[in-house]
Chain length 134, copies 2
DNA sequence: TCTAAGGTACGATAAAAAACGTACGTTTAG
DNA sequence: CTAAACGTACGTTTTTTATCGTACCTTAGA
């Protein structure tokens, strides 16, 4: 009886652009397309307003967003919880890239330029401890 | 003079399926399509052999894989280095999901079911230290 | 009142990713 | 020798993402 995986295996992770939108909504709360679009535009290159609009409409159809249509300027908000969603993405990433091993992730972090010296130092200590624990 | 980002910013990350193939090649070394396909099949649902074949051929065209055609059973191998490739993916993931903050990643790990009790313990300690360091 | 600015709806397109199926060459067990 | 098993080549199709453009409302202000 081969079954999928009984643990919390994570609803499909939103696509990249979708995450960008969610990110903004989580950070600023319910917003108009215009608002999201402006932030998006300044973060990434110029995008057409209608592209952002369409994206958000699609996301709404998918159930990723919900919107208040009482006013002309619809107010969109994220349906998914930030923590949970990111957690799912993280799990998937871990599985895909590091066979689910947090320790492997750590090791990778150790060689990553995104990691600051301080973080690096503590990471090393951490790995030592993990080795002993094992 | 807005410029991209002079630091190692990461060649485009391979797509999901491509990563799966790379994963197998890194782990088992140069292999035939058949071999990769079998592993792939057992990990994910049933896939048509030719799909895997096509994927690997395409990847070869893209320069992700190279192959030895001296024998009928072509032997494929990964061109990219595992560590580097994963490092790039990690950087991107960090940026997209945790604004590049390793600490945030840690915190997320803390609440992730993929994290074992031992790892959890050390993670907590680590975060304490990071707080002090700041 | 009429118009320009700013909204939404929605069909369309483009490109990337994921999967197939058919045609055809090679090898090997009988 | 020959058929079944196993391989590769490659054109195609299906989805999913990412982006647009055009048509058409709504509202505030000259």
């Amino acid at each position: 009886m081969k079954q999928k995986n009984q643990s919390t295996v994570a609803d499909p992770v939103p696509a990249k652009s979708e995450m960008d939108v969610l990110q903004i909504l989580w950070q600023h709360g319910p917003s108009t397309v215009r608002f999201v679009h402006d932030i998006l535009t300044e973060k990434k290159g110029n995008i057409q307003y209608t592209s952002t609009l369409k994206l958000m409409q699609t996301m709404t159809e998918k159930g990723l967003l919900m919107r208040d249509e009482t006013n002309m300027k619809h107010i969109y908000s994220a349906v998914l919880e930030e923590k949970k969603t990111k957690g799912n993405a993280l799990s998937k990433f871990l599985d895909n890239m590091y066979e689910g091993s947090v320790k492997s992730l750590m090791t990778a972090l150790l060689g990553n330029e995104k990691t600051s010296p301080e973080e690096l130092k503590v990471l090393e200590e951490m790995l030592h401890k993990l080795d002993k624990t094992k």
